[in-house]
Amino acid sequence: MVAAVMSDAAPSAAKRRTWTTSINAWLLLLPAIVLLATFTHYPILATLYHSFFSLGRSGPAEFIGLDNYRYMLDDDVFWQVLRNNFIFAIATVPTSIALALLMAVWVDKKIVGRSFLRLAFFTPTVLPMIAVANIWLFFYTPDYGLLDQFLRFLGFAGHNWLGDPATVMSCLAVMVVWKEAGFFMIFYLAALQTIPPELKEAASVEGASRWYFFRRVTLPLLMPTTLFISINALINSFKLVDQLVIMTKGGPNNASSLLLYYIYEVAFNFWDTTYAATLTVTLITILAAVALTKFVYLDRRIHYQ
């Protein structure tokens, strides 16, 4: 180990030194490689592999080609959770981004109680989703819950918010926006602080209104941040399912189920691991597509700056 990086003066030893350097580097990387191979690379390949096999509940697993995929395309629940997932993303991503931007603009200014506001907005981020779900579950409880009590106070009738397929997704989306907006706020805040104050001074000398300045200067300058946040929020909408375990179990009738939650159900409630693998291939494909868009599009943009 020691010899590798020590400068060896003799040029004839250069080749051997390259070799020892390589070996040392690989040794340093060994623990990381072993763990990544075991818990990331192998599982990805194994997911793909198992998706081509039958479950083999009675007898050995057999190669069945694309049968699992055919089954998936015929599975109404699969299409429903996929649709739910996209609805969930469309409901949560733009809303939390817009709110995050609003919060950041407020907190960036000299506003009364600035640090309190920042604290209030950011706090939900550090709470466990499972605790958050417990609290919000009580908000939505029919009759007894806070929302219904408040509505009754205003003279409206109670409603089974999480038990109604028409309202369950919106209820969950509101909760997730509440939890995530403050997290995205800090990225906008960081970006806002890099905008030179001279720009603002120049604009106010020119007589530009605040809204005009925001629209024509701030917003375009925040574009890379917006893209970055959108992609992270999108990935999160495919990863966040903790709340379903507590609040709805994907119900009623899969109305609130998401792809990852369906995978969890298929694998660990129905123990159909090969079909779960097939569904996981779909999820991996979606995530990889999102991530590649990020690499190709976002990283190139950052490069130009």
Binding site: V2, A4, V5, M6, T21, S22, N24, L28, L29, P31, A32, I33, V34, L35, L36, F39, T40, P43, I44, T47, M103, W106, I111, V112, S115, F116, A120, F122, T123, P124, T125, V126, L127, P128, I130, A131, V132, N134, I135, F138, F139, Y144, L146, I186, L189, A190, V241, I246, L260, I263, Y264, F268, T273, A277, T280, I284, L287, A288, A291, L292
Partner: protein
């Protein structure tokens, strides 16, 4: 005119902030009051610790705390050591296959262990580790994110410092330990805070691989405790919820600035 719009904005910001704190405030209200006040907001309602006492006695929360603490420390220690070594290799060594290997590390940023639950369960069960704390920790031990962050930091270390240390006779490990690690302090803090928050709060994977009081972390313990089938009183469940989030919440309130900056640093990369 301008002043008016300013005060309207202040009012709006405060309204949103109070609305944002409402769920948390409500959970504290319900946890510290007798259950008949769970939905009756009366300022004269008596305060009580009874809900906490009941929750603590009805489920092994002490054990859950211990499990979470062990889990979080195990993950963090493993991640720091493994990521430091790997980042050092990537940042300071030229070797065969470096770029390919780095790309393979980055795969984990795209496809996180959180979505590979089916096959990781098989792996953990093949290793005979089901229902143990290492089972929860292992898939997260090699953090691509940590390697990435530290590599960036290590790349920024001035060569002169490294050479100076060499001249003084430091070995590769000596250089790593005495030059790189101290200079990476802010990155370590940032990564550490993000990692601890993440694993304190993590739920789905621990739910899948644990099955007993001895290995369940707090989040899973809370879910088991609060399940509607158990018929536990609402105020007691809120008390348990508050117990689950309290340590992280207190840490956040105390070290607010570090938290926000760490999340920012870690997120921007």
């Amino acid at each position: 005119m301008r002043r008016d719009s300013y005060s309207i904005e202040t009012l709006a910001a405060w309204t949103l902030a109070l609305l944002w704190l409402l769920p948390l405030a409500y959970s504290l209200w319900s946890a510290f009051h007798p259950s008949e006040y769970a939905t009756r907001f009366d300022l004269t309602a008596p305060l009580t610790f009874n809900n906490f006492v009941k929750a603590w006695n009805q489920a092994p929360f002490a054990r859950y705390y211990l499990n979470t603490l062990m889990l979080v420390s195990l993950v963090l220690a493993g991640q720091l050591v493994i990521a430091t070594l790997a980042a050092y290799a990537f940042a300071r060594f030229k070797f065969v296959g470096r770029d390919v290997l780095f790309a393979l590390v980055l795969v984990q940023l795209m496809i996180m262990p959180d979505v590979l639950i089916v096959e990781n369960y098989r792996v953990i069960s093949a290793l005979n580790l089901l229902d143990t704390i290492p089972a929860i920790a292992l898939p997260y031990m090699a953090s691509a994110f940590g390697i990435f962050l530290l590599r960036q930091t290590f790349k920024g270390v001035p060569t002169e410092l490294v050479e100076a240390a060499r001249v003084e006779g430091a070995s590769s490990f000596g250089v790593l330990w005495r030059v790189f690690v101290p200079l990476g302090k802010t990155t370590y803090i940032a990564f550490g805070l993000v990692s601890v928050s993440y694993h304190w709060n993590n739920f789905l994977w621990p739910l899948i691989v644990t099955n007993s009081v001895e290995s369940r972390p707090l989040t899973v313990g809370l879910a088991v405790f609060g399940a509607p089938e158990t018929g536990v009183d609402w105020s007691v469940i809120t008390a348990a919820t508050v117990m689950t989030m309290a340590p992280l919440l207190l840490a956040f309130l105390l070290f607010q600035r570090q938290f926000v900056q760490s999340f920012m640093r870690a997120g921007i990369r």
